[in-house]
Each structure stands twice: as C-alpha cells, then as structure tokens.
C-alpha cells in the first residue's frame, strides 16, 4: 500500500469520526441529563413526580403534574393559532401566488424564524398581556397570551416543512387534476393536500416540539404559577419555565428535581421527533 492510499484511508476514518459528532453529542447530552435527573425521580418514586400536584421544592415536594399539563395547554393553544395560519401561508405560497410574489414573500416569512425568542416574549409583555388584562380580565399573564405568542413562533417550522412537502408532490398530479376541470382550490384540497399529508403532519409535530421546548418567551408572558390553570386567562407554568426560573438559585436535591423536569421534557421531545421522522419518511406512492 503506498502513501497516497494510506492517507486516503486515514482521511476517510477521520471524517467518519467527525461525522459521528452529532450522534455522540446527542448521546452525551442524554447521559448527562438522565444521570443528573433520574436518581431523584427514583428516590421519591416516578408516580410522585408525574402525578403529584404539589411543587414545593423547599419542602422536598416535587410534583410536576401542573407543569406537564401547563405545557400541554399552551402547546395545544399554539397549534390552534399556528396550524391554520401556517398551512394557509404554505398553500398560498405553493398554489395561489405568482412566482414573483413568492420570491418576495418566502424570505419575509422565513425572517420570523430569525427573531429571537426574547423579543417575542417582550412583544407579548408590552402589547398582548395588557390587551388581555384590559379587555378580557384576569392578570393578562396567561395561557391565552402564551398560546398566541407560541402560535406565532411555530409558524416558520410549519410553513417551511409544509412548503417542502407540497413542492415534493409531482407536477403531474396537479396538472391531471386541473385537466379534469377541477378548480385550484379543489386540486389543493383533494389532490395536493392528501399527497403531501405525511410531510404536513410532520411539520405540525415538529411545530409542537418547538412550542413545548420554548422557554424564554413563555417565562415572560405565562405568569408561571405552579398550579393547573382553570381557564384560558389563568397564569400557567410550563416544564421549560420551571427549569429556567429556578436554575439560578437551586442547589442540591432541588437542582436534581429541575434536571428531572428536563428528563421529562427530553423524553417528550424525543418521542415527537421520532414520530415526525417516521411520518415524513413514509413516502406516498
């Protein structure tokens, strides 16, 4: 074997190692989050963590149920706002707009993804929260405020992945439908949408993941009370805000309980990612 060949082999090996960096990082993150968070869960019993309503870290009571339900509420709310808006944008951009308009609109909408989450939170605090407080009652910091801001924040995820899957539908499908005399809307509803269904579902699931994982914006507008909200206007605390609010001063077992919160969040996100991954891989014939 000459020098050149050996060098090629070495490069291949080095690149393979580099290529595994993402997987290794994922693995290391999993190990550290679980290593730090699971002992305290087993010490008190999983049931207590998942189903107890009392989060009083100073009295060693670590019930995460209010936060789990809080996360589910704001995520559901975000989907109610984000899915119609997002899918409408995706359909308009792929089916109902001219090429030129699309070239302007797409980068503008992508800009939404670039705005930092603290800015979204801030806009929520200075505009949305006072509006809700004055017109609908309650403290303003609420499930509703968090849902609206999160709904806007997940738009870029839903829009870009839905556009990709609508664009991946073969042109002949659309042309065939139009040739049969269907209108654009009928074509969209009866041909394009079903054909792109798996990608669109994946986009919604990934949007869910983003909503559940969002932290800073939610802390600023959700009110953060560790109780189960009774209405849309009640304050709410999510899993993410539970971590970020108390990480600054928590120590010992309290900190471990925050990592346990991280473990639950991590598991939810991984399940959603895997579902999204499997749905989008299932190709329509």
């Amino acid at each position: 074997m000459n020098r050149l060949e050996r060098n090629e082999k070495l490069t291949r090996l080095a690149l393979l190692l580099v290529a595994f960096s993402a997987v290794s990082i994922l693995l290391v993150i999993t190990i550290f989050i679980f290593g730090e968070g699971t002992p305290v869960m087993f010490r008190y019993g999983l049931q207590k963590f998942l189903f107890s309503l009392d989060w009083f870290p100073l009295e060693k009571s670590y019930g995460l149920l209010p936060m789990i339900i809080g996360s589910l509420f704001v995520t559901a709310g975000a989907l109610v706002i984000g899915v119609p808006l997002g899918l409408a944008c995706a359909i308009v951009l792929t089916e109902f707009s001219s090429k030129r308009l699309r070239r302007i609109l797409k980068p503008i909408i992508e800009l939404l993804a670039g705005i930092p989450s603290v800015v979204y939170g801030f806009i929520g605090v200075v505009i949305l929260v006072p509006f809700i407080r004055d017109n609908l009652g309650g403290p303003g910091l609420s499930v509703l405020a968090a849902s609206i801001i999160l709904g806007i924040m997940i738009l870029p995820t839903i829009i870009s992945i839905s556009i990709d899957s609508l664009e991946a539908v073969p042109r002949t499908y659309r042309e065939g439908s139009i040739a049969l005399g269907a209108t654009r809307w009928q074509t969209t509803r009866m041909v394009m949408f079903p054909a792109a269904k798996s990608g669109i579902i994946a986009s919604i699931i990934l949007g869910m993941g983003r909503a559940i994982g969002e932290t800073m914006a939610v802390i600023m507008i959700a009110g953060n009370a560790a109780t189960i909200p009774r209405s849309l206007l009640d304050p709410v605390r999510t899993l993410t805000s539970n971590i970020a609010l108390e990480m600054g001063y928590a120590a010992g077992e309290h900190r471990e309980a925050l990592f346990a919160t991280g473990v639950i969040l991590f598991i939810i996100i991984m399940v959603l990612n895997t579902i999204a991954n499997l749905t989008s891989k299932r190709r329509t014939p």
Binding site: N7, E8, T11, L15, L16, V18, A19, F20, S21, A22, V23, I25, L26, V28, I29, F32, I33, E36, L85, A88, C89, V92, F96, I108, I109, L111, L112, G114, I115, P116, S117, V118, V119, Y120, F122, I123, I127, I152, R184, W185, Q186, L206, G209, G213, T215, M216, M220, T240, I243, A244, M247, G262, L265, F266, I269, M270, N273, T274, A276, N277
Partner: protein, 280 residues
C-alpha cells in the same frame, strides 16, 4: 341532503381566507419589527453602542454585551463549522446510503429538535460544573456550537450535493485523489451554500438566551479570556426587560438585535440565491 356550492364560489371564498391568513402572518412580522425599531432606534446612538452598561444597565450603553455576543458567536462558529462541514463531506463524498448514514442523519435531526433549555442544562452540568470551566465564554461557546451543529451539517450537505457530478469526474480523470477533489474542487464550489449555513448559525447564536444564560453567565464586564463570564445582548435584553431595570435601554438593545438579525438574514438569502442560480 348535500347542498351544492359552485366550485368557483367555493374557491373564491377559500382563496380569500387563505390570503387573509397569509396577510395576518406578514402583518405580525412587520408589526414586531417596526414596533421594536420605532421605540428602540431613538435610544441607539454611538454612545449607546460604545459605552459599557452602568448600574446593571440602567444607564450607559451595551458595549460589553456586544463584545460578549461577538466573542461567543465567533468561538461557537469556529468549533461547529469544522465538525459540521466534515460530517457533510463524509455523508456526501465518502459513503453510500446505509445504516451508518441513517444513524448520523437521525442523530443530527434529533439534535436539531432539542430545546435550548436542555442544551443550557447540559452545558451547565458538564462544562460549568463537572469540567470546572465555570460560567465562561468557553462553556457558552461549546454549548452554542453543539446547538448550531445540525444547521451547519444540513446546509453544508445540501450545498455539497448540488455541486454537479461532472466537476468531480473531471478532477478524478486528471489523477487527483478523493481528498484533493474534495478540498480543491467540491468545497470551493459549495462555499456560498456552506456560508449560508454558517450565517444561519450566527443568527441562532445571537438570538439565543436560555442556553447561554446558564453557561456563559451574565457578567457585565468585557471578557478578557476564554474563562471569563460574559453577557450577550439577548441575555442583557432579557434581564433588562424582565427585572424592569430600564425599558428604554431594553428597547435599544432589542433594536440592535433586530437589525443584526435582519442583516444576517439578508446576507444568507443573497448568498443562497447566488449559489442556487449557479447550479440549479
């Protein structure tokens, strides 16, 4: 009994609804940008950009947080780019689709979905505590680098894939090795596409708060070494707004952030457009 609706009227109705929703989305975006700029730009002056914060940010400017943001972002990019581009080269040039590439892609996709607060927790426990790096530029930039790695892998892979195969064939026919072909032919042609990924990574690092606040800390001093704690603009903005220290300075910081993000997005978009026009 089903009511018959003229498909043309149905289409007109739904088209109106869809455009209305799109309009709402675009309006929200412009509203956020203009609102922040309108209130923030009057605060931004040369002094605001070049003076350090005084009294926790109540007075003075944001100079040290600009330095912190730039330092953290540059370090994160320096760490993530070689890893990301290397991964992309392996995936595109050195292997065929098999279980290894599937594992790598799945790992990268999962990493992309992990919330920033989890990165923050992880960086805090590994870099800040276990490795004893403390709240520092190094801890913060390593955490950020891990966070933006999937973005860089994905965009680099797309960029490298779109370089026409003929380029490689010509290079091979001239007797170059695979590595020579990659470094001298493929990478230079894919550079604008790769740069787009890197710029998007810069955008994410600048806007990130949750992962940074627990790893780089929130010191208002100008960082002097890799081990000094530092506050980024996003963290500074968050603290100003949340603790009600100074609304005026919060708006000013937000305006600078928004302008930085706008510039970055325009840059990424123009580069990508140029690249696409060349090959696709």
């Amino acid at each position: 009994m089903r009511i018959y609706i003229d498909p043309k009227i149905e289409q007109r109705f739904f088209r109106a609804v869809l455009w209305l929703f799109t309009g709402v989305t675009v309006f929200i975006l412009f509203f956020i940008i203009f609102y922040v700029l309108k209130r923030g730009l009057p605060v931004v002056s040369l002094g605001f950009l070049t003076k350090n914060p005084v009294e926790m940010g109540k007075a003075g400017g944001i100079f040290s947080t600009i330095v912190g943001t730039v330092a953290l972002t540059v370090l994160a990019i320096l760490i993530a780019t070689p890893l990301g581009v290397g991964s992309a080269i392996y995936l595109t040039e050195y292997t065929r689709e098999n279980w290894v590439t599937r594992v790598i892609r799945f790992g990268s996709e999962c990493l992309a979905g992990i919330p920033s607060i989890i990165f923050g927790l992880f960086g805090f426990i590994l870099f800040v505590t276990k490795l004893g790096l403390g709240w520092s530029l190094l801890s913060g930039s390593l955490t950020l680098a891990f966070m933006i790695l999937p973005t860089i892998i994905r965009t680099s892979e797309e960029a490298i894939r779109s370089v026409p195969y003929a380029y490689r064939e010509v290079s091979f026919s001239l007797g170059s090795t695979k590595w020579q072909t990659v470094t001298r032919v493929v990478l230079p042609s894919a550079l604008p596409g790769i740069a787009t990924g890197v710029i998007l990574g810069v955008g994410r690092s600048i806007g990130e708060t949750a992962a940074v606040i627990f790893t780089a800390g929130s010191s208002l001093h100008i960082p002097t070494s890799l081990f000094s704690s530092s506050r980024t603009m996003s963290v500074h903005f968050y603290i100003l707004a949340r603790e009600g220290i100074s609304m005026a300075n919060a708006y000013g910081t937000a305006a600078v952030l928004i302008i930085a993000i706008l510039v970055i997005n325009v840059l990424a978009y123009t580069l990508m457009n140029k690249f696409m026009r060349k090959y696709c």
